[in-house]
Symmetry: C2
C-alpha cells in the first residue's frame, strides 16, 4: 500500500477469487464454471470480422444484449441492466442503495462485505440457522438495504418465492436477490418485480450460460431501479461491456434449448453425485446450485482439499468457520464427477487406515 492511499480504504480486505491455474493440469471444480462450452451460436457470432471491428467502441446502451435478456426473461428492456460480470452489477447496487447500510447472511457470497467496504457502507451480518438455512424472519425491520443469494452461495440452499415475497411485503427498503445459481433448479422471483418496486434481481452469464470468461452480469427490476444503475454506469464506465462479450451474451441468451439442456444435465449430475457422496457417509446441504457443499465423515475440509489437489482435482475450501469443515465442489461432467468420486473413495480409504 502506498502512503497516498485513502485512509478510509486502508482497512479494505480484497476478495480472494478461487485459484485460476493457467495450465489445464487440474480437473477444475473450484469456481463454479460450467463444464460445457458456450452455445454454438456464440462461436458463430465471433468471427474474424467482429475481431477486426474491435477498433470501434462498443454500443454503450448494449441494446442487443439487453433486448435478448428482456425477451428471454419476459420483461421490457427498461427493466434490464447489464454489467461487466455480476460483480460490477452488485457493486453498483451497493453504491446506489447503501445510504443506510446493508444487511445479509453471515455465510453467503464473500464479496458482499467487500463491496460495502469499497463504498464505505456499513454491512451487518445475520447468522444463518444452525443447519445453514436462511431464515428471512430477522430481515426487514431496519432501514438497511437487504442482500442475499438464492440459492445461497456456498450452501446451495434455496428459498421458494413465497418466503421472499413475505419479506418484500414487510419492508420498503431495497431487497437485492442474487440469483447467480437460480437456473439449476430454483424458481426465480422474477414475476414479483411488477408488484415490488424495491426488488432487484441480479444474475450472471458465468454459470448457467457457460460464459464466465466473457464477464457478463445483469439485473432485473423496476425501471426506476434500472435507471439508477445506469446513472452509475454512465458515471463510471459507459462502455463497460466490450464488443465481443456483447455478441457472445446475446447469442447465448437466444439459445434457450441449449441452456435448458446444459442446466438440466448439471442438475442431474449434481443430484447423482450428492447421492454417491452421502452413500460414503458424507454430509451435504440440499444444493440447488451447480456445486455441492460436502463434509467428510472423518477428514477436515482443508485436508480433503489438499488430498484432492494431489490427485489433480481442484475444489474450493473456504475459510469461513461455519463451513471450513466442508469443501465446495463445482458440478462438472459425469466423467469428471466419477473421477472425483473415485478419488474421494481412495482418500477416505487411506484415512480410515491411518
Amino acid at each position: 500500500m502506498s502512503r497516498f492511499f485513502s485512509s478510509a480504504l486502508s482497512g479494505i480486505q480484497p476478495y480472494t477469487p478461487g485459484e485460476q491455474p493457467r495450465n489445464a493440469v487440474y480437473i477444475k471444480l473450484n469456481t463454479n464454471e460450467s463444464p460445457f462450452p458456450p452455445a454454438p451460436g456464440v462461436m458463430d457470432a465471433i468471427q474474424r470480422k467482429e475481431v477486426q471491428d474491435l477498433r470501434l467502441y462498443s454500443d454503450p446502451s448494449a441494446s442487443d444484449l439487453v433486448a435478448s435478456i428482456a425477451q428471454a426473461c419476459g420483461v421490457s428492456p427498461e427493466q434490464v441492466f447489464v454489467g461487466n460480470g455480476s460483480d460490477e452489477v452488485l457493486a453498483f447496487a451497493f453504491h446506489a442503495y447503501g445510504e443506510n447500510g446493508f444487511v445479509g447472511p453471515d455465510v453467503s457470497y464473500g464479496f458482499y462485505p467487500v463491496f460495502a467496504a469499497f463504498f464505505g457502507i456499513p454491512y451487518r451480518q445475520i447468522p444463518l440457522s444452525p443447519d445453514l438455512s436462511l431464515d428471512l424472519a430477522p430481515y426487514g425491520s431496519t432501514r438497511e438495504s437487504i442482500v442475499f443469494a438464492n440459492p445461497n452461495a456456498q450452501t446451495g440452499l434455496y428459498l421458494p418465492p413465497c418466503e421472499i415475497e413475505a419479506l418484500l411485503r414487510r419492508t420498503d427498503r431495497p431487497v437485492i436477490v442474487d440469483e447467480a445459481y437460480i437456473d439449476f433448479g430454483g424458481e426465480s422471483v422474477l414475476p414479483l418485480i411488477r408488484r415490488y418496486p424495491h426488488l432487484l434481481i441480479t444474475r450472471t452469464f458465468s454459470k448457467s450460460r457457460n460464459l464466465a470468461g466473457a464477464r457478463i452480469g445483469f439485473a432485473i427490476g423496476d425501471a426506476a431501479l434500472i435507471e439508477d444503475l445506469n446513472r452509475l454506469r454512465f458515471s463510471f464506465n459507459p462502455y463497460n461491456l466490450n464488443r465481443l462479450s456483447l455478441l457472445a451474451g446475446a447469442a447465448a441468451m437466444r439459445d434457450d434449448a441449449y441452456f435448458r439442456s446444459c442446466t438440466a444435465r448439471i442438475a442431474n449430475t449434481r443430484d447423482a453425485t450428492a447421492d454417491a457422496l452421502r452413500a460414503m457417509g458424507y454430509s451435504l446441504t440440499a444444493s440447488r446450485a451447480n456445486f455441492l457443499l460436502a463434509r467428510s465423515p472423518r477428514l477436515p475440509g482443508a485436508a480433503l482439499y489438499e488430498e484432492l489437489k494431489k490427485r489433480g482435482i481442484l475444489v474450493r475450501h473456504l475459510p469461513d468457520p461455519r463451513i471450513r469443515d466442508s469443501i465446495r465442489i463445482t458440478v462438472g461432467t459425469d466423467t469428471q464427477m466419477q473421477t472425483l468420486l473415485d478419488a474421494v473413495r481412495d482418500i477416505e480409504k487411506e484415512a480410515s487406515h491411518a
Copy 2:
C-alpha cells in the same frame, strides 16, 4: 431515479459518450477511434478455441497482458495495472487518491469531474490559459491530488516532460497524467516513474492500439501505487478483463511495428488535414493527438457539426463554453479526411453565399 437512490448521488451528472450509431452510415470521426484494424496478431489470437474457452473465468492477475505491457514500456510487471478501459483505471485512481480532493483543468476529459462525483470527492477546476494551453504553475500548492491529460483532451495540446517534472518536484501529492493520446507524437513521462513515487500514468488501448471495443486501459507507476489499484480492483471486480480482451491486448502490445506504422500514419494525416483547414481560414490548436479541434471562420460549432452530419460525417461538438465554437474531428484515413475537407469546403461556400 428511484426514491431509493442514495441522496449523496442524486446530483450526479453522468458522462455523455459520443454518439455510437449502430449502422455504419456515417464516416465516424467523433470518438477518437483508430481508422485501422487491430494488429494482425489480434485476429490470430482469437479463434474458435478461445471462444469455446469462454466457459472458464479469465486470469484475474491478467499476467500475460501485464507482461506484454511491461515489456513494451520497459518497466516491471509490478509497475503495471490493467483495467476495463482507462475509464475504470481512472475511476480506481480517483477512489484511491481522492481523500483531499482532486484538481484539474477546466477543459479536459469530461469524465474527471464525474469520477469525483461518483466517489463523493471534491473536484476543483483551474482554467486553461486564454489560448487553451495548460499552465501547470498554479498546480501543486495544495493537498489535492492532481489530474490532467497530456496531450490534453479536446485541445490536443501537449506539455514536454520537463514541465511535468517541475510540477512533480514541487508537490508530493499524487499526480495522474492521462496519456491516452501520447502515442501520436508526444514524449511520455514514463522515465520519470523511477524518480517520482507519486506519478501515475494512465494509458488506453482504445486509440493507438486500435482496440476501443476491447476495453483495455492500464496504468504505470511505482509498485506501491499499482498495489493500491490492485487492492481496489480485487475489491470491486477481480475478473475485470474478459478472456478475449486479455488475448487481444497482449497480441496488440507485442506488434510494435504495426503500432508505429498506424500512429505515424495518423500523425501525418492529422498534420496534413490541419494545414488544409488552416488554408481555408480555420483556427486550430496545435494538436499532438489523434484529433483536431477546429473553428470555422464563420460557422458556429453546432452548425458545422449539423452540416457535416447531413453530409454523412459524424464529428464531435462539445458543450463546454470555451470550445463550443469549435468541432473536434477524429483523424481518420487520408481518404476520409479528403471527404471531410471536401464537405467543409462545400459547407463554407454555402455559408458565405447565405
